[in-house]
């Protein structure tokens, strides 16, 4: 059981979720966050924090592909444990759908 970040996070990356995670299981890419499925304790505290409603439980329909994506990138992106400012154009991307074309596989810059 785990929660997973979906494409709604891409280019928004508000990081409210990071602030509340009790086990610090978020990992940061250049323009998206992911949850490490093996570290997530399934407590659900992050899910309502996300203003983009980008976080879903793995019990939701269609969650498999997001869990797989979260697994993949959590193993190569750096751990993020503190909230930070969102990208300058985050609001422009807010609420947009089908953002997978814009995902950057690059890790967040230090």
């Amino acid at each position: 059981m785990t929660y997973a970040v979906t494409e709604a996070c891409i280019n928004c990356k508000f990081t409210d979720c990071v602030e509340v995670c009790p086990v610090d299981c978020f990992y940061e890419g250049e323009n998206m966050l992911v949850i490490h499925p093996d570290e997530c304790i399934d407590c659900g505290v992050c899910e309502p924090e996300c203003p983009e409603e980008a976080i879903i439980a793995d019990t939701e329909p269609g969650a498999e592909k997001w869990v797989a994506l979260n697994q993949k990138y959590s193993e190569i992106w750096p751990n993020i444990t503190e909230r930070k400012d969102p990208p300058a154009d985050a609001q422009d991307w807010s609420g947009k759908r089908d953002k997978m074309d814009y995902i950057s596989p690059a890790p967040a810059s230090a």
């Binding site: 059981m1 509340v20 009790p22 086990v23 610090d24 570290e39 304790i41 399934d42 407590c43 659900g44 505290v45 899910e47 309502p48 444990t81």
Partner: protein, 328 residues
């Protein structure tokens, strides 16, 4: 052959189909995850494992496991678990409760389960508050806790759970913290391996009614500065850089904190001896601020468990139903 005998069990095999109903962010989720992982590592089939719980948030634990479980009455889990274990000593029996359940309502049962040394694994989820009933102060709440039942702040000294367990005669006393996901599994495995009553205090954050009660202890990034991780036979060093040490003051019988660089010799650093009851009491007394909080096995002294001490063979045949019928 049971299919479980040949299959490598995973943590998911120990989860149930029940929706978990703790508050989002509750430390109990973290403990549940560790317990499932440890059960998979232990490798016993779910039908050979029993979780017995009392009442409270923590006591919902058995619902979320595929093992046998028993949600009993407030404070009485240790008594019920004692019966389960004596009826079938082949079972792995775990007892789960909160600080109210173990230290207040069930304080007497906890005491007697420990001194009897029945082969149970007792997990105290200590969040230092009554969470299920919405935030009254509990027996482990620190002095000054403001709550609906102590609007002016509590005045009673909190129960020190580890000292209580040692005083009750427990031969295995350990401590862990909910979110320390790489440390807690080792503690639980040691508790399981110990034959007799194993008492594990798990510092657990209640995000709603007592958030941050344990400060940095269960904060992964800061924990090493405020806790000392005990390893039998190893020097007691702590701090992110392992630059602080505990030194035992023989005259006072207490541990003192020293900067490693200020010591004349590293041989002055105390070495953890988990079989030393006096040192265990001294460790149990160490609290923040002033001392790092000891995590790991404080005390483990091999000792015949209840079944062995009573001269029973510890197998089901000794408790044969036919023999019981003949007796009656």
């Amino acid at each position: 052959m049971n299919i479980m005998d040949v299959k490598q069990l995973s943590a998911n095999d120990f989860g149930s189909d029940q929706e978990v109903r703790w508050c989002p962010g509750c430390g109990d989720y973290a403990i549940l995850k560790v317990v499932k992982t440890v059960l998979a590592d232990i490798g016993r089939s779910p039908d050979e494992v029993v979780f017995v719980a009392g009442i409270g948030c923590a006591a919902r634990f058995p619902y979320y496991l595929s093992t046998y479980g028993f949600h009993t009455i407030h404070g009485r889990a240790a008594a019920v678990a004692t019966g389960v274990k004596l009826a079938n000593p082949d079972l792995d029996v775990w007892v789960v409760g909160g600080d109210g359940d173990f230290m207040s309502i069930g304080g007497n049962h906890t005491l007697h389960a420990l001194r009897r040394n029945v082969d149970l694994n007792l997990l105290l989820f200590n969040n230092a508050i009554y969470g299920l009933t919405k935030g009254q102060y509990s027996p482990t709440s620190p002095v000054g806790t403001r709550s609906p039942s102590t609007p002016g702040g509590s005045v009673e000294q909190p129960v020190n759970a580890a000292s209580f367990a040692l005083g009750a005669g427990a031969k295995f006393v350990a401590r862990g913290a909910d979110t320390l996901q790489t440390h807690l599994p080792g503690v639980l495995k040691r508790a399981h391996d110990y034959r007799g009553a194993s008492f594990v205090e798990i510092l657990q954050n209640c995000i709603v009614y007592h958030d941050g009660a344990f400060g940095a202890i269960n904060d992964r990034s800061e924990s090493q500065n405020v806790t000392v991780r005990l390893e039998h036979g190893q020097p007691m060093l702590f701090g992110k850089e392992n630059d602080k040490a505990l030194v035992f003051n023989e005259q006072k019988g207490t541990f003192e904190v020293a900067e490693l660089s200020q010591l004349d010799s590293e041989t002055n650093v105390a070495v953890h001896d988990e079989t030393n009851i006096d040192r265990a009491f001294a460790l149990a007394q160490m609290e923040q601020p002033g001392h790092p909080v000891p995590l790991g096995v404080l005390y483990a002294e091999p000792c015949p468990d209840f079944v062995e001490a009573r001269g029973f063979t510890g197998t089901r045949s000794a408790w044969d139903r036919d023999a019981l019928k003949a007796l009656l």
